[in-house]
C-alpha cells in the first residue's frame, strides 16, 4: 500500500518510507505476543525439549530395562479403552513397553539427532559460506558448484545415500550406537547448502564495507575478520534457517528410521516407533503407531511455526 506513488521528490519520499515503516512497524516481542499461535508453538517446543531431557526421570517406565518388561503386558490398549491398564496410559507395544515412555525416550533421541545434525550443517555451511564469500575466486567456484549439484537433489535423497554408504562402509549392522552418529552426519551433510548460500551472499556485501577494510588495514587475519567481524552480521538469517532446519532434520531422521535405515528397534526414535507400530495397524492396534505419530507431528509443526514466525519477524525479505 502506498499513499502517493506519484512523486519522486527525495525528502518527501523519505517521509513515505517513514510512514510505511511505521505502518509495518514490527518489534520482535510485540509480534510474538500478538501471535497467539506462535506462543503456543513455542511452549510446545519447549515442553518437548524439557520432557526429552528429563525423560529418564519422569517417564513412568524404563522401556529399555528388560527386567521390568513383561510380555503379559504386551498389546495393552490405552487406559481409557476396554482392556486398558492404568499403569500404561497410552497402552503398550508388542514387547510390553509403555508407549508413553517410549515416546518420551524416542523424542529424546529424535531431538538430540536433530540438534546435533543442525549444528553440523550450520558449522559446515557457515564456514564454507564465509570462505566462498570472503575469498571468492576458485574456492568460491568449487564450493558453489558443489552446492548447486547437491541442490539438484532433494536433501532426503542425499541423506539416504550418505546413510546407505556409511552403513556399508562402517558395517553399522554390527556396531551398536553407530547408527546414531551415522544419522547425524548424513543429515548434517544434507542440509548445509542453504547456510552456505545465505552466508556467502551476506559476506559478499560485508566484505567491501569500511569496517572490514579497516580491520584488514590494522592487520587482522582473514579468519579473524571472517569470524569476528563478518559472522555477527549473518547471525539472524542463520538463526532462521537453523530453526526451520531443525524441523526438517527431525523429519528426515524420522523418515530414515521409518524406512528402516535409521535407528534400530533397540534404540528407537519416534520414526522407529512408527515403523514398528505400522506393522500392527492392520490389526487395529492403532495406539502403537498413532501416538508416536502425533508426537512427531506436533513437534515438527511447533518448530515450523516458530521458524516461520522468526523468519517473518527477523527478515521480511526472506518471505
Amino acid at each position: 500500500m502506498e499513499i502517493d506513488a506519484g512523486d519522486e521528490d527525495g525528502s518527501a519520499a523519505a517521509d513515505d518510507t517513514g510512514f510505511l515503516a511505521r505502518v509495518r512497524d514490527n518489534d520482535l516481542l510485540h509480534s510474538f505476543l500478538r501471535n497467539r499461535l506462535v506462543v503456543v508453538a513455542a511452549a510446545v517446543t519447549l515442553t518437548f525439549v524439557l520432557l526429552s531431557v528429563l525423560a529418564p526421570w519422569i517417564a513412568p517406565h524404563d522401556p529399555y530395562d528388560v527386567r521390568t518388561l513383561s510380555l503379559l503386558d504386551s498389546h495393552t490398549p490405552p487406559a481409557w479403552e476396554q482392556g486398558g491398564d492404568p499403569r500404561f496410559l497410552l497402552g503398550t507395544d508388542d514387547q510390553g513397553r509403555d508407549i508413553l515412555s517410549t515416546i518420551l525416550f524416542g523424542a529424546r533421541i529424535s531431538i538430540a539427532i536433530g540438534i546435533l545434525s543442525v549444528l553440523l550443517a550450520m558449522g559446515i555451511g557457515v564456514s564454507l559460506g564465509l570462505i566462498a564469500g570472503y575469498f571468492g575466486g576458485p574456492a568460491d567456484t568449487v564450493i558453489m558448484r558443489i552446492a548447486d549439484v547437491q541442490l539438484t537433489f532433494p536433501a532426503i535423497l542425499t541423506a539416504l545415500l550418505i546413510d546407505g554408504v556409511a552403513r556399508v562402509m562402517l558395517g553399522a549392522h554390527q556396531s551398536a550406537g553407530g547408527e546414531f552418529w551415522i544419522l547425524v552426519v548424513a543429515i548434517g551433510l544434507s542440509y548445509w547448502v542453504q547456510y552456505a548460500r545465505t552466508v556467502r551472499g551476506v559476506t559478499l556485501v560485508e566484505r567491501n564495507k569500511e569496517y572490514v577494510q579497516a580491520a584488514r588495514l590494522i592487520g587482522l587475519g582473514p579468519f579473524k575478520i571472517m569470524f569476528a567481524q563478518v559472522l555477527p552480521n549473518v547471525m539472524s538469517p542463520v538463526l532462521v534457517i537453523a530453526t526451520i532446519n531443525l524441523a526438517l532434520a527431525v523429519l528426515t531422521e524420522a523418515t530414515l528410521s521409518f524406512l528402516g535405515v535409521g535407528l534400530p528397534p533397540t534404540e528407537p526414535s519416534l520414526g522407529t516407533l512408527i515403523r514398528i507400530g505400522n506393522n500392527f495397524l492392520m490389526s487395529g492396534e492403532y495406539w502403537i503407531v498413532i501416538f508416536p505419530g502425533i508426537a512427531l507431528a506436533a513437534l515438527v509443526l511447533a518448530v515450523n511455526l516458530v521458524g516461520d514466525w522468526l523468519r517473518d519477524a527477523l527478515n521480511p525479505k526472506l518471505r
Binding site: D4, G6, D7, D15, F19
Partner: protein, 328 residues
C-alpha cells in the same frame, strides 16, 4: 461554468493503522467541468494520487473513503457495489498511471490488452474491436499500428508505451481521464510530446482531465484550472492564470517562486523552509503554519476553510482576513 462532469464534496480518505487512523485526504471539494483540464499539484504525500484513486474507486485496503461523496454527471459513485463501479471504470472514467513500464502486463500483446478493454465495455466482436484498437494506436501516434499491434510491451520504448497506456485509457471513450503523473517516469524530451498528445486527444473528444503532477510547468501549459494540495487538503484552487500569476496562499506563492525562469531579472529561486508533515504528525490549525513566514496566532489553532477570492478559493486566514476586511 457548465454542469460539472465530476463533483467531489467533503471527500475524506483514511488509513487505519495499529497506531491510529491516518487521514490521507481530509475534507476536500472540487468540480471538473465537461472538457475541462484540472491540474492537481502538490508534494508527494499531499494526497493527490489518493484523491485520484478515490474518484475511480481504487483505494487499496485497508485505506477507505471515510466521508464525503463523489458524483459523476450528478450520480453518486463512491458507494456503488463493485460490479457497477467496474462498469464505470474504463468506460466513463479512464486512468493513466505514472510508469508506463509497469502499467502494461508484460505477458500480453498490447493489441490483446486494448481489445479486452474495448470488449469489457461494449458488445463488439473480436474483429471490430481489433480494428478499433488499430485506429486507437494510430490516434496516439504509433506508426504502422497494424504491424505493431501484436507486439509485446517490452518491444516498445517508454514513450511509446505511455502512448499505448493513453490509448487504453481512452479505449472506451470515457468522459473523464485521471492522469496520475503521466510523464514523471519519462525522458524530459518525451514529456512534452506526451502531454501535448493527451491534451489534443482530450480536446478532440471533449474529455475532461484530472491531471495529477508535481510539475507546475506542465500545469501552467496544460490545465484550465489548478488545485494546490498540501497535507491532504486543498490550499488553493482557481483558474490556472490567476493561481500562477497572483497566488494567494503562502504555500502557493512558495511553489510559484520555486519555478525556474529564463528571465535574467528574476529573483533567486525561492525555497520553502522545512518539509511537509508526515500523515501521523499533521499540526493543529492550518497544516502549513510551521513553515509559513506570515503565520498568525490563529493559524496555530483553527483550521482555515476554503473561501472565494476572485475566481479562486483559498484556505488561509491571511486572505480570509483580507476578504473580510475588504467586505467591511
Amino acid at each position: 461554468m457548465t454542469r460539472p462532469v465530476l463533483s467531489v464534496r467533503g471527500l475524506r480518505v483514511e488509513f487505519p493503522t495499529r497506531k491510529g487512523v491516518l487521514v490521507a485526504v481530509d475534507d476536500i471539494s472540487f468540480d471538473i467541468a465537461e472538457g475541462e483540464v484540472l491540474g492537481v499539484v502538490g508534494e508527494s504525500g499531499a494526497g493527490k494520487s489518493m484523491t485520484g484513486s478515490a474518484v475511480i474507486g481504487l483505494i487499496e485496503p485497508p485505506g477507505r473513503i471515510a466521508g464525503g461523496e463523489v458524483r459523476l454527471d450528478g450520480r453518486r459513485i463512491d458507494n456503488l457495489p463493485y460490479e457497477e463501479m467496474r462498469r464505470i471504470r474504463g468506460r466513463r472514467i479512464g486512468m493513466i498511471f505514472q510508469d508506463p513500464l509497469t502499467s502494461l502486463n508484460p505477458l500480453y500483446r498490447i493489441g490483446d490488452q486494448i481489445v479486452e478493454t474495448i470488449r469489457a465495455h461494449a458488445p463488439v466482436g473480436e474483429k471490430a474491436a481489433r480494428q478499433r484498437a488499430i485506429a486507437l494506436l494510430g490516434d496516439v501516434g504509433i506508426q504502422g499500428a497494424e504491424a505493431r499491434i501484436d507486439s509485446y510491451p517490452h518491444q516498445f520504448s517508454g514513450g511509446m508505451r505511455q502512448r499505448v497506456v493513453i490509448a487504453l485509457a481512452l479505449a472506451a471513450d470515457p468522459e473523464l481521464v485521471i492522469a496520475d503523473e503521466p510523464t514523471t517516469a519519462l525522458d524530459v524530451s518525451i514529456q512534452a510530446q506526451i502531454i501535448q498528445l493527451l491534451k489534443r486527444l482530450c480536446r478532440e473528444r471533449g474529455t475532461a482531465v484530472m491531471l495529477i503532477t508535481h510539475d507546475m510547468g506542465v500545469i501552467a501549459e496544460t490545465a484550465d484550472r489548478v488545485a494546490v494540495m498540501y497535507a491532504g487538503r486543498i490550499a488553493e484552487i482557481g483558474p490556472v492564470r490567476d493561481v500562477v500569476q497572483s497566488p494567494h496562499h503562502p504555500y502557493t506563492k512558495g511553489l510559484m517562486g520555486s519555478i525556474p525562469t529564463l528571465d535574467a531579472n528574476a529573483p533567486r529561486l525561492m525555497q520553502i523552509p522545512g518539509a511537509m508533515p508526515r500523515l501521523n504528525a499533521i499540526p493543529k490549525g492550518c497544516a502549513f503554519h510551521p513553515r509559513c513566514m506570515e503565520a498568525l496566532g490563529r493559524c496555530w489553532q483553527d483550521r482555515p476553510e476554503p473561501a472565494a477570492i476572485g475566481r479562486s478559493e483559498v484556505a488561509c486566514w491571511l486572505t480570509a482576513g483580507a476578504v473580510a476586511g475588504a467586505g467591511r
